[in-house]
Point group: C2
Chain length 365, copies 2
């Protein structure tokens, strides 16, 4: 087998090698039961153990209290944009407060507006979403249905260092790109949702952590599959779930727990990786210019520009030749984006650092 490269894509993203190796081992015959993990039925004892292990790993890693449900959906964060608003805004007689710090927040707002009244309490559009609001800039309706935020914006590379204080109003967070990257205090949130394909597994499953008392607020007559109560009642098995993707979440969370040693340790690694790249940017005499303001910088998606678009193209091309793939920035920010999720090893970031130094010394003025 040829060597694996370093994949800096924003998602689907690189996965832990031990999880991939375990999946390959189970692919024709899961644990000796005579069938592939792709073939096991979702109501079998074998799958019950897999999904329970995945939930137990998540509960352990994030220290999820008992009055929070851990659920598995399909449809990604994009379907959650609608589900959150259908379940908690539609017919509530209230408005919802949205903090807008980047592209994904914008999409969440677009869907919520179809279901009810949305109030954008802060909009980072000025400056192309290069920073997170100060607490003093945020003023929530005490009677809002919920406050929605995107703690890490994958495209712009801005990240909250701590969740906004919303008082008694439930905080709903699209945590797709920083889920499991560091410890959080789950009790500060009403709902956390995350597409798995950055830090938790492959594309095809969405993780939802939901405070149980919120279930009472859901209106009747929603499509069954889009009513959070259906998945609570059916224990994420109302209909056929994405068995393989959930199995893979179990493998990734097992790796996080047993091989990394938990989220405190993961956070230290992630901060170190991010610092490595930001240090190169900050000491480049303006050759590399970070998109996010220093206090708002993401530990997951590092975004920066070069002196010209031609140099940016050349950077991406040459990096790819060196086995550093997926570095092209999103068109709405331009430049370079290095996604350095949990599964990106320190060695990958070190390789990128060396390449950045080399590229600057060859192309810097």
């Amino acid at each position: 087998m040829e060597e694996r490269i370093y994949n800096f894509s924003a998602g689907p993203a690189t996965l832990p090698l031990p999880a991939l190796e375990a999946a390959r081992k189970d692919l024709l015959n899961y644990q000796g039961i005579g069938m592939s993990v792709l073939e096991i039925r979702h109501r079998s004892q074998v799958f019950a153990e897999i999904i329970e292990k995945a939930q137990a790993n998540l509960r352990h890693l994030l220290n999820v209290p008992d009055h929070y449900q851990i659920l598995f959906f399909q449809g990604g964060a994009s379907l959650q944009f609608s589900m959150v608003a259908m379940n908690f805004l539609r017919g509530s007689g209230k408005s919802a407060d949205y903090i807008l710090t980047g592209s994904w927040g914008n999409k969440a707002i677009k869907e919520a507006k179809k279901e009810g009244t949305v109030r954008v309490v802060w909009d980072g559009k000025e400056g192309n979403y290069h920073r997170i609001p100060e607490p003093s800039e945020l003023d929530f309706y005490p009677d809002a249905a919920y406050v929605h935020a995107t703690p890490n914006e994958t495209i712009q590379g801005v990240e909250f260092s701590s969740p906004p204080d919303t008082g008694d109003v439930p905080l709903v967070c699209d945590m797709s790109s920083d889920f499991l990257s560091c410890p959080i205090d789950v009790e500060k949130y009403g709902i956390i949702y995350a597409g798995a394909q950055k830090n938790a597994g492959p594309a095809g499953v969405t993780l939802v952590i939901l405070r149980e008392d919120l279930l009472d607020r859901i209106p009747e007559n929603l499509p069954s599959l889009l009513d959070y109560r259906t998945m609570v009642k059916g224990k994420s098995l109302y209909n056929t779930p994405p068995v393989f993707a959930i199995y893979f979440v179990m493998l990734v969370t097992r790796w996080l727990r047993d091989e990394i040693g938990g989220l405190e340790k993961m956070a230290v690694l992630n901060e170190g990786k991010a610092k490595t790249l930001y240090d190169v940017i900050d000491s480049s005499d303006g050759f590399y210019r970070g998109h996010a303001e220093p206090g708002s910088r993401s530990n997951m998606n590092v975004t920066w520009r070069l002196p010209s678009e031609n140099l940016e193209k050349e950077f991406v091309r040459r990096a790819k030749e060196k086995g550093l793939d997926g570095l092209k920035g999103h068109r709405s920010v331009g430049g370079i984006r290095a996604s350095i999720y949990n599964a990106m090893p320190v060695s990958g970031v070190e390789s990128l650092r060396e390449f950045m130094l080399e590229f600057r010394s060859e192309n810097g003025s």
Copy 2:
């Protein structure tokens, strides 16, 4: 590696061994690109080729005309129950006609009623859904929004031998459990949808074949992800799709095309497999009693009872010891169900036949 068993589960179900072997080969390093097929980004050229191949294989196998779109969704048939009604019943000023031949049709009706007026044009409840209606029993509203049918009911094991003639009213079919099992005339359908996890791949992706002119009937302001036009416009890549499941559909359809030789050949194999089991049932002097009437029998899900529930339990237990797994019938029908989808080899059905003969000779009166 221990031997693989024969898996008669209704879904997730057995998969073609060559597809599993190909997936295992690509699991750490897809075609030498240095990353797993689970890690490739959905907007990469590599994935564009995979999804285009999957679509091309489906178009070839089913002879799908150019004015039909082939789309990939998440959420299974259960989400399609709602989507069909949200897109084509809600706000249409029309009612929709549903043919009810089993458990899945019932669920489709439950969701459609939330969106508009449903008329159940035929209900097989009497006799616990043991037969398909005669054409003379069906009378459709000429102005219905659509007619919905479930050509194969997975739980009851009843199957239409040809689609009902709905004239100018679009026929919408939940083909989850007979999709790709035999050739069909796609032009007879307005929309075909199918969860992949029976005949087309693993759980986690839903296939939709949709006649393009129907897109004009969709109301505004649906959640983006639940509006068929979003997926048409985004070429099934509006948001992150279930990359691995789509890749696996590509492998399964390639196997169908290249190794089986197309759906005519697949249909011959499937009819042969079904006949093998129904012959054992019919020549058992009433020891095995088929649930479905002979003219309504499914080639995919063969359902039958034994003289007592104790014998049924014993049958399932002993079969499992012989490597014949997943034969317990659904609780709403009871008894035994053998799901013999495309990927179930003739040798598996032969083994089951031998076991049935042996079990009867040991336990028959």
